[in-house]
């Protein structure tokens, strides 16, 4: 079970005196779907950056399964231990969807043939039929693209999934579909799924909802 733990995490931009994150301490448990909600400018993106290993906190510590993030290679951390899903999917436009999904695996050293095989299975698992595997992302619907994005996230083997408004571009049916997937991964596979959202429906089905306000995270 993956676990992300934050201890007194503060963040301050260079050349700015004001703290964007003000001593956040919290626990994101594996097996749970957590939602972070909050108004624009409250610090959600900054927190997500730190959780994704794209930035380091100015103060405080972030632990993943007990490992201090500051001691880890952040590139390797992003490659192996954390994955992200975005509202606008962010797939490589010039790679087929199969290549998009196999890319992190190949990048991680898994032989091409094996990576493609697994990518195919992942895509099938997420309901993307084989005939679509050789298509480019632009030829898929939004829901399908998001499922490809989830497949790519899963392909990294990371147990922490960070989702930034994953359903923001989707209709209700697809929203439910995606949420169902994320929930299942959390509940059945023990993934630690953290969803940053404005959507109350998303928040309502989450196991835990955190509120972000002026750099402070509260339940």
């Amino acid at each position: 079970m993956a676990e992300l733990k934050l201890s007194e995490v503060c963040y301050q931009y260079k050349n700015s005196k004001q703290k964007v994150l003000k001593g956040i301490s919290c626990d994101f448990q594996g097996g749970k779907l957590c939602a972070i909600v909050g108004p624009s400018g409250s610090g959600k993106t900054t927190l997500l950056s730190i959780l994704a290993g794209l930035d380091r906190p100015s103060e405080g510590k972030v632990y993943i399964n007990g490992d201090d993030l500051t001691t880890l290679d952040l590139d390797a951390y992003r490659r192996e231990r954390v994955a992200m899903i975005f509202q606008s999917f962010q797939l490589f436009p010039l790679l087929t969807i199969l290549e998009n999904v196999s890319y992190p695996m190949e990048n991680n050293g898994i032989p091409k043939k094996e990576a493609r095989e697994r990518a195919g299975k992942l895509l099938l698992m997420l309901g993307i039929t084989e005939e679509k595997h050789k298509r480019f992302p632009s030829k898929l619907s939004g829901g399908e693209q998001q499922r490809v994005a989830i497949a790519r996230a899963l392909a990294t083997g990371a147990k922490v999934l960070l989702a930034d408004e994953p359903t923001g571009n989707l209709d209700r049916e697809n929203t439910l579909h995606i949420l169902d997937i994320l929930k299942k991964f959390a509940h059945e596979e023990g993934y630690c799924v953290i969803v940053v959202t404005h959507d109350q429906e998303v928040a309502s089905i989450s196991d835990r909802v955190w509120r972000m306000q002026d750099g402070i995270l509260t339940i």
Binding site: L54, D75, T96, I128, D164, K184
Partner: protein, 1039 residues
């Protein structure tokens, strides 16, 4: 006014917009400068071709070519005929420069050619009178001038004291008048300038002692032998007085003549035969010749002689007023008694006054020149009233007639059409060599070189423009979709995208265009500097229009690209564009993808039916498989590398449009370097070949009449020796001369006999027999005594001096061939054998009393006491470069070796070299200048393009970073991908060059390296730029 979001977007991304603007500037500069250069070359060569057209002349024994002209004028090949009209012109407020007059007064009066311009008529108070016993005696008078009635102002002494002398021809002549003169009384006196007096002006018209003309010869005021007419001080004479009959009329004529010039009306002076360099007659000192345009546009411009200009202090741009008089047939423009109708009725001829601007100053190479040489002024024929000198069209004189063919191509046809017919009329047709062939070679080379540069630069720069348009549209794609989503019509959105694009295209095009125009015009002026121009070639006006059209074309092209791109975007789904995912993957790419066989073996338990899209399913085994395997493989670095390479490969081949453009640009740039290299090398070789094949001729000119006492016309032997010592001369034709005191037919012991004694005889020798009869000996025929011919004569080294003497000498001395005559040199008598005689006159007045000797005998007789009269050289073609470099130095060396105040002049007839090689050299230096500029511009373009291409992949970099790609790796990946593109282009370009040139010169290697460095730097900076962006900000949908 509608708000244009695209424009705002352009302005708010100043860095990128500026880069694109600079690229547009560079593209415009590159294309425009070469196209303009080509157009200028075309314009100039076309215009110059007119100048280099065949110029024909007609000659007949009596100079009347009227019938020939009638025939020729009907020819369809004729562009225009030039029949010179030479009316008299009276300078207004200005005197002519014939201050020394040219004739001996008595001689001139005898043949009625006297113009009396050297007359001075004044009121003078007698200061002194005396009779000097010199020879047969002379009267000397000194007057203080109170007022000049007529006379050049140059004659007026500073102290107003004028010396007048009179040489009586018979005893007692003027004695009565002399005795009656009272010192202190005022008289009206007439005298004339004595060119042979000391303290006067020399033969070239230069005043020896400032503005002083002290010595004059007395002349009678009227035909009644009136020499001095007493006038009380303060009074003036009454010309109606019978004693002074005819004086007033005479003074009027003198005044007219002192301001007279010959105004030569021509349709195109630049095409007049004597003004072609090949005629070795006239040359331009400053400004330009008159041309066809001057005549067609009736421009009141003129070209004057340098002597007149210098003497009267005139220069280019000055204006002179001339009263044109419908009066021809004069002599130097003068009213002379030879033409009684003019002499008596000159006032009755029609006149018209015009103001002319001096646009050119010319000089001639004639040796024997009087001050009257400045009397001819050339003006466009159209400036002379049409009804003036109509008689010149009735009887066409060969000296004033020439014609110009429409094109050099028509020459043969014209000859076939007319030559034999003209010969039947006794008229000789000839064409002037005006270096048309040389011009053809130079213009062809220039045209070819500029054509190539236009082709290469256009092919290279236009793809860059496509890329700029592509970049611009890529940036505007999403904004376009948003605008469309907001309800902005497709048409308006396309319009607004276009308008915003103008902000990048227009300033760039204007800046690049202005720089290119300014720079290219400057270069072109230099390029054509040495062609003999028929006038000021106005290429600016028409070029300005062309330049504007070119700018418009480039701008239109950019707008069309933007428009087509916008239309393409407009055809895409707005939603897809908003999603930011829409990219067209062509059929070609789909085929490529389909070829990639991915061996997928789906779990048979997984549903793949239609409903599968809605169901996700985990099987236990699969879950285990995923959990166990993923992220646990330790792949080797090589494997990771191949993965990256595969990614690059896919990316590159799926965005082939961009890649292909970049590839073409690189290939274009590299081959352009090669073109520069080849062009420069080829030019060098051609120039060297031409340098070694053109024979430049030269000669030393010395103004003034040949005169042993004054040194006029002679050339110092030292200067010839110095010239020959430079090693630049291959061949010389030299005519030497020296003077012996006398030639006599009697031996020294015989009694002096005046009739058998010829004083002051000149001796001439030369080093080429045949050449002599083209030069000084053109007017004589030689006959040798038996056993002699020119070969024997030239090579004879006999002890006895041998000579060819004039027939008249033989008659005077009563000698025959083979007889001995004696040359008296410093009282020494040297026997000389007559081995031949000649009839006719040598071409120089003083040399007419001349005997001809071989060089060997001249040396034996005179040693080093000789001068040169004709010195003509052929320079060593192998040293032409050195000659051009030393030209000024050589000219200074020659002009410093002057006799008295006369400066000899070295003429180097190098127009052929200048007109062929110098434009090519300038073209070469132009290439040499533009080459490094092109290298820098290409390097900058390469850098900027690579930077822009990578900067457009920021989102891709962000995804990679999110997926765990290290910044360094992403940077390397992007840099390598760009590197593969430009390096492939470079390698192919290099192979192409190697195939064409048989290798790659170090110069090209260096330039390629520079270009690759620019591209690499651009790629690295672009990669750093995109990886330094915060990934989440790029990937998130902003709230």
């Amino acid at each position: 006014m509608r708000r244009n979001p695209f424009l705002k977007a352009v302005l708010r991304k100043p860095f990128r917009s500026l880069l694109m603007l600079l690229l547009m500037g560079a593209i415009t500069y590159g294309i425009t400068s070469h196209v303009i250069e080509y157009v200028i070359v075309l314009q100039m060569t076309n215009q110059l071709e007119k100048y280099y057209r065949p110029i024909g002349t007609l000659k007949s024994e009596n100079n009347d070519v009227t019938r020939g002209r009638e025939l020729v004028s009907r020819s369809p090949y004729i562009e225009f005929e030039d029949i010179g009209r030479i009316p008299q012109g009276i300078l207004q407020g200005l005197y002519n420069a014939d201050v020394s007059n040219s004739f001996n007064r008595a001689k001139a009066e005898e043949i009625k050619l006297e113009s009396y311009v050297s007359d001075i008529v004044f009121y003078g108070v007698l200061q002194e009178k005396k009779y000097v016993v010199v020879g047969s005696g002379q009267y000397h008078f000194v007057f203080k001038i109170n007022k000049m009635e007529v006379g050049y102002p140059d004659y007026m002494p500073e102290d107003n004291l004028i010396h007048v002398k009179y040489q009586p021809e018979t005893e007692g002549e003027l004695k009565e008048e002399y005795d009656s003169l009272i010192v202190g009384e005022q008289y009206l006196v007439r005298a004339y300038y004595d060119e042979n007096s000391p303290q006067s002006m020399n033969r070239s018209g230069q005043i020896i002692e400032g503005k002083v003309g002290k010595w004059f010869l007395l002349d009678k005021l009227t035909d009644d032998n009136l020499y001095f007419y007493p006038v009380k001080e303060g009074d003036t004479v009454d010309y109606s007085n019978r004693k002074l009959a005819g004086l007033k009329e005479h003074l009027e004529i003198v005044d007219q003549n002192q301001r007279s010039v010959e105004v030569y009306g021509t349709k195109d002076m630049s095409l007049m035969p004597p003004f072609q360099e090949s005629s070795r007659t006239y040359y331009l000192v400053d400004g330009r010749w008159l041309d066809r345009e001057d005549d067609l546009n009736k421009k009141n411009v003129c070209v004057v002689h340098s002597f007149f200009a210098e003497w009267r202090g005139l220069s280019l741009g000055d204006k002179i007023n001339i009263e044109l008089r419908d009066m021809g047939g004069g002599y130097n423009g003068y009213i002379i008694p030879l033409f009684p109708e003019i002499w008596d009725n000159w006032k009755n001829y029609k006149t018209v006054e015009k103001e002319f601007e001096i646009v050119g100053i010319y000089d001639s190479v004639y040796l024997d020149q009087s001050t009257a040489r400045g009397n001819r002024i050339f003006v466009p024929d159209s400036c002379i009233p049409e009804n003036f000198l109509l008689q010149t069209r009735e009887m066409i004189d060969s000296s004033t007639y020439s014609f110009v063919l429409k094109s050099a191509k028509d020459l043969q046809a014209f000859l076939i059409e007319n030559k034999s017919k003209l010969e039947g009329m006794g008229i000789t047709l000839s064409f002037i060599d005006n270096d048309a062939d040389d011009f053809g070679i130079a213009s062809k080379a220039l045209k070819k070189s500029t054509q190539m540069s236009v082709a290469i630069f256009s092919a290279t720069f236009l793809p860059v423009m496509v890329i700029v348009a592509f970049f611009y549209l890529s940036q505007r794609r999403r904004e376009f979709a948003v605008a469309r989503a907001m309800g902005i019509s497709r048409r308006l959105a396309i319009y607004q995208v276009g308008v915003a694009g103008i902000w990048i295209g227009f300033p760039g095009i204007i800046i690049g265009g202005i720089v290119a125009r300014y720079k290219t015009l400057k270069e072109a002026k230099d390029l054509f500097k040495d062609f003999v121009m028929p006038g000021v070639i106005e290429y600016n006006s028409s070029l300005r229009i062309f330049w504007l059209l070119l700018m418009l074309l480039l701008f239109s092209l950019f707008v069309i690209l933007i428009f087509l791109g916008s239309c393409y975007i407009a055809n895409q789904s707005v939603f897809d564009l908003l999603q930011g995912q829409k990219l067209n993957i062509g059929r070609k790419n789909m085929r490529q993808i389909n070829r990639e066989k991915v061996d997928l073996q789906p779990d048979p338990s997984i549903k793949t039916d239609e409903k599968a899209e809605e169901i996700f399913y985990f099987s236990d085994s699969y879950k285990e498989f995923m959990v166990e395997s993923i992220g646990k493989t330790n792949a080797s670095r090589i494997y990771k590398l191949t993965t990256s390479i595969e990614y690059l490969y896919r990316h590159m081949f799926r965005s082939y449009g961009k890649i292909l453009l970049m590839f073409i640009i690189t290939l274009g740039f590299i081959t352009t370097y090669s073109w520069f290299d080849i062009a420069i090398e080829k030019n060098k070789v051609e120039i060297d070949q031409l340098y070694n094949s053109i024979v430049i001729k030269g000669e030393i000119l010395n103004e003034g009449r040949l005169d042993f006492s004054k040194g006029g016309g002679f050339i110092n032997p030292k200067v010839v020796n110095n010239l020959q010592d430079t090693g630049l001369i291959n061949e010389s034709y030299l005519e030497k001369t020296a003077q012996v005191n006398a030639l006599t037919g009697f031996n020294p012991h015989k009694t002096y006999d005046r009739d058998a004694f010829i004083p002051g005889v000149a001796v001439v020798s030369f080093n080429e027999w045949n050449r002599f009869f083209i030069e000084t000996g053109a007017g004589i025929t030689v006959e040798f005594m038996k056993g002699y011919d020119e070969k024997v004569f030239m090579e004879s080294e006999s002890d006895a001096v041998e000579a060819i003497v004039p027939e008249r000498f033989m008659k005077k001395l009563g000698k025959r061939w083979g007889d001995i005559v004696y040359l008296i040199i410093k009282e020494e008598y040297t026997p000389c054998r007559i081995i031949g005689s000649y009839e006719g006159e040598l071409s120089n007045a003083v040399l007419s009393d001349t005997i001809i000797m071989s060089e060997y005998h001249m040396q034996q007789l005179m040693g080093n006491n000789f001068f040169y009269v004709v010195t003509k050289f052929k320079f060593n073609p192998a040293k032409n470069k050195e000659l051009i470099q030393k030209e000024k130095e050589l000219k200074e060396m020659v002009s410093s070796a002057k006799f008295g105040s006369i400066e000899p002049k070295l003429m180097i007839w190098d127009a052929e070299l200048q007109q062929v090689i110098e434009p090519m050299e300038r073209n070469l230096s132009f290439l040499k200048i533009i080459y490094p500029i092109a290298v820098i511009v290409f390097t900058l373009i390469g850098g900027v393009l690579n930077f822009l291409i990578i900067s457009f992949r920021a989102k891709e970099a962000a995804i990679m970073r999110i997926l765990g790609g290290a910044k360094r790796k992403v940077r390397i990946l992007f840099t390598v991908e760009q590197g593969i593109i430009y390096l492939t282009g470079m390698i192919l370009g290099a192979i192409l060059i190697a195939m064409l040139q048989g290798g790659i010169s170090p110069n090209i290697q260096m330039n390629i390296l520079l270009y690759v460095t620019g591209c690499t730097l651009g790629s690295i900076l672009g990669s750093i730029f995109v990886t330094n962006k915060i990934p989440l900000e790029l990937l998130q949908v902003k709230e």
